[in-house]
Symmetry: C2
Subunit: 587 residues, 2 copies
């Protein structure tokens, strides 16, 4: 076998990472972005250009992958892209149709397809269904650029500590590239960065991680592409939640030299017996004729957003892309004067501009004057179009229609839900008449316990903050005002005790534990899968546990009919959490 | 290795197949049914009793399998069941938590757990997500009952032509048992029966296939347990869509004798080198002391339902179990005088009795007198409680509320949707006030093309016929009347041209191709995944193809918020078909 000890001496390598926003199914549009990325990378002197996982089709294409003609169309795009790869090596993610279907990477250069690497580890947990579509690859893969060996991997492949990266490093790779589409949740970017640093150190390799960016239904891909040197130091970082062509110069020779001093690595080389295939060898123009700034090792290093700014940016991008990629130009939402709809309105304005947002204030006889005037003030602050609809006439109509049947029954949740549904109907009427997307404004705490009305406040095409617990809603509202340097969201909205205002003097905390108690129980039950007993052992009050677990389980049927929304936690409702409705298990 | 040539001579074996209706998560209830099944099997002289796949937890338990305490509870139930297995061998499906989680089968006898077989093939397509939860087993498995070798398998294992069944047969098994949970779709039972006959012949084995029965959210399990002799002849068959303990006497010796004459089998034996483990050996009481009818080979053979009766039975059971297992005692639906709601009402009455069904007739100014009187006649025929609500007052209220904003716009789909939503609100008000489950009445043709109103006619907890194409709705309505021997569903409902009656003189075929044209296109596009070009090659008109494909793709957002309903085709909307909403692929 060939180890690093007999590697020749190499100069630096210049890599471009095309952190692109692909759209699922838009093969022609994605192809254009890839062609632009190749042109721009070449212009910036890159010798190797990376694109994200399944860049051709967008990620995740889900059951489009079951259509043979879809796979054929994706392959045709790869072949067209290959034709323009003069003087540069491009690694492009695509679904490969062969004896089976593979999540693959095409090695394109000099106008040709030189080889294909197939993803080894197919995630099939959380939001992932890759085993539904793909067969696993069986081999690590290398390419060689003027003697520099580059190891290949796709997303999940590099989360595993061993092969393919270890196999590739032992076969002489000094650079490991990873094409990725990694869904965001709060803190995921920093976690990924630590993992990649570990992989770089594990393997004494430069790591170049090229990430997808953009919103796709419930998912946001946060970008945050990275280049790390062999010591695990970040030497280039793309911005989060934005398209960018990140170009960095790396020093494979430094990795090779360092290995000679690393006894662990030498020992590992001795125990490794099988070499991965080298898919292609390319000569490269040396970089020595380049301007000096291109020879400087590293590249731009974007600053990381604060934890709260990161979540806010995810919500803005997730909404913007859902709206734009589905062909809408405007959204509408109900403003109650409460904090949830206030936050969603601010996110919408930051995603689409004030001209892309309309709001409706829809007071009932139970709405206080304070909440109504707060709603109007907020709309003015945000500069959005405002409608006003009183819902009392429709309430009266339903009351008289149902009066006889309900004659001997006291008012209850029925009448409360009718108010919410009238508001939902009015928003949907605006949607139908003007072609706007309705935003639902419920938060994760409500979604969890079913404190929401199906076809009422749950009505809408997109539920922006459905994965945001109420306690985090407050943090995000404070963030909005901190960024604005003032009360963009009126202070009284933030300070008022939460209420659905569906009956006189109603308060959320009359029927639910305080959110500061509720949210940690929800997190432990929904995201950590703890049982009643474990929840009590963690110190939650037995009555609260009993109450909350029962509410969460009973609300599954509502969640099944809720609009999609943006995942920002480790387990969102939706594809991420697949719980039966018919379920007698007591939690 | 040991082949069949050295097998001793055996008498008959008496097997019970407990075709039970398990409830997901109801470990205590499922345990009781299993204990009852064991007692009854023993009483009927069975030496071996089979239960369905994951009988302990119900199927599919989905993300309950991610809870460690759920797995522990399931295991505790297995241990309790083991304690009552004196004088009988019981094979019980359960999720096994070991180094990983397995879809497993416990061999219980004489008060003990003797061994565990792990499912080899994990389906991860269609509605199945087994790779999300389980690790594959790696070995075939045998048990030996007084010298009779019995090969073990779980569901998907026997759909594969080779191992584990072939391995087990070659190691001397003359009986192959299969514990199953196989979701129904039209024609699936006959297909399964042909497959099992082939496996019996392939392996020269008796095959005993024990199936789950019952409804679980979108799925119906049709029962239809089978025992086939080594020539593939059905010698016992349980009823479809019903709980049953099927007891059959089989003749393993006949299989063994036949093998001696089967050259193919002998050749196969010679090429097989590895024996599966024998998990347990049990002495058995000989059957010779049994009454003579127990010695007769075979068992009861239920007649198969006709294709249309089968689908109808699936819908009845699916609805009955959804209602009962979710703790409802009554359903309510709107009767429009059209055929869809008429069929759903008939199904509901057959599932729950007339006392379990209320209907609401909710005419608008666009409702013809004929449809109204048909709706009333149908309600009378079915003997159900009827409410009448005029929706004009609520229509007027919305019109005046929205009048100013819509002043310069002509009436359009907005006003039509408002009518549907008012009806949805009224039904939901009945649901909220009285605790009834609302049934949505849309069919698959409408669900496909989005010819339905979100939060309007799509409102409800369960959409009984959402997987039934309109052309099949007619067949089922005729079936209802044929069974009743008269016009249980009034003839005028069946004969009238379909209309939503949301504007004057509206007919479905004004905006859609005739259903006889539409449904085959939908079937080819939705279930077969054909593209535009392939659809045209199949002879569909290019304009129809273009129109239908666009409508189907655009309606994905509606389907995502639709209630669950019963799968009766090879690809239903729901877990079965996972298509992105944000999707620019043109079909």
């Amino acid at each position: 076998m060939e180890g690093m000890t007999d590697s020749p001496t190499h100069g630096p390598l210049r890599i471009a990472l095309c952190q692109m926003n692909a759209t699922v199914g838009d093969i022609a549009g994605n192809e254009r972005k890839i062609l632009d990325g190749i042109a721009e990378a070449r212009e910036q002197g890159a010798q190797l250009v990376l694109f994200p996982e399944l860049a051709i089709t967008g990620y995740p294409p889900e059951d489009l992958l079951l259509k043979e003609h879809f796979l054929a169309d994706a392959r045709a795009a790869v072949d067209r892209i290959a034709a323009v790869t003069e003087g540069i090596v491009a690694l492009v993610g695509f679904p490969e149709r062969e004896d089976d279907v593979y999540n693959a990477l095409a090695v394109l250069a000099d106008g040709e397809l030189h080889g294909i690497y197939r993803k080894l580890y197919l995630p099939n947990y959380g939001v992932f269904d890759e085993a539904r579509y793909f067969q696993s690859g069986t081999e690590a893969g290398l390419i060689e650029l003027a003697g520099i060996r580059v190891g290949l991997s796709i997303c999940e492949d590099i989360w595993e500590p061993g092969p393919p990266a270890s196999t590739e490093a032992r076969a002489g790779a000094t650079v490991i590239v990873n094409l990725s589409a990694s869904p965001y949740y709060a803190g995921r970017g920093r976690q990924r960065e630590r993992m990649l640093a570990q992989r770089a150190r594990d393997n004494n390799c430069v790591v170049a991680y090229c990430a997808l960016v953009g919103g796709q239904d419930e998912l946001v891909f946060d970008g945050h592409s990275l280049v790390l040197d062999h010591r695990g130091e970040v030497i280039a970082r793309a911005g989060q939640f934005t398209e960018e062509l990140l170009v960095a110069t790396v020093d494979p020779q430094a990795a090779a030299t360092h290995r000679l001093r690393d006894a662990r690595h030498r020992a590992a080389v001795r125990t490794e017996h099988e070499d991965p295939p080298t898919l292609a060898r390319f000569p490269l123009q040396p970089l020595s004729s380049e301007p000096p700034e291109r020879l400087r090792i590293g590249g731009p290093v974007a600053e990381l957003l604060s934890p709260v700014a990161e979540v806010y940016a995810a919500l803005v991008l997730g909404l913007r892309d859902y709206v734009a990629k589905n062909g809408f130009s405007r959204v509408v939402l109900g403003l109650s004067g409460g904090i949830d709809s206030a936050l969603v309105a601010a996110i919408a304005v930051d995603a689409l501009g004030p001209g892309g947002v309309s709001v409706a204030v829809m007071p009932s006889p139970h709405s206080s004057l304070a909440t109504q005037s707060d709603a109007r003030l907020l709309a003015d602050n945000l500069g959005v179009e405002r409608f006003e609809f009183a819902i009392a006439p429709a309430m009266d109509a339903y009351e008289s229609t149902l009066g006889e049947v309900f004659a001997d029954r006291a008012p209850d949740i029925t009448e409360e839900n009718l108010q919410a549904r009238i508001r939902g109907n009015l928003l949907m009427a605006l949607s139908n008449k003007f072609g706007w997307l309705v935003l639902a404004t419920g938060n994760k705490s409500e979604m969890s316990v079913g404190y929401s009305t199906l076809y009422g406040d749950l009505a809408g095409g997109f539920a922006v903050i459905k994965d945001v617990y109420k306690t985090r809603v407050y943090e995000l509202a404070e963030h909005v005002n901190a960024v604005a340097g003032g009360e963009r969201i009126p202070r009284s909205i933030i300070d008022r005790a939460p209420s659905a205002e569906l009956r006189p003097d109603q308060r959320d905390e009359d029927s639910l534990p305080p959110y500061a108690v509720l949210d940690p129980i929800l997190d432990a039950y929904v995201e950590e899968d703890l049982g009643r007993e474990q929840l009590r052992l963690r110190g939650f009050h037995a009555d609260d546990v009993e109450h909350v677990v029962r509410l969460v389980d009973r609300a599954e049927y509502k969640r099944r009919q809720a609009p999609p929304g943006i995942k920002i936690t480790s387990r969102a409702f939706g594809r991420d959490r697949r719980v039966p409705i018919t379920n007698r298990y007591g939690g």
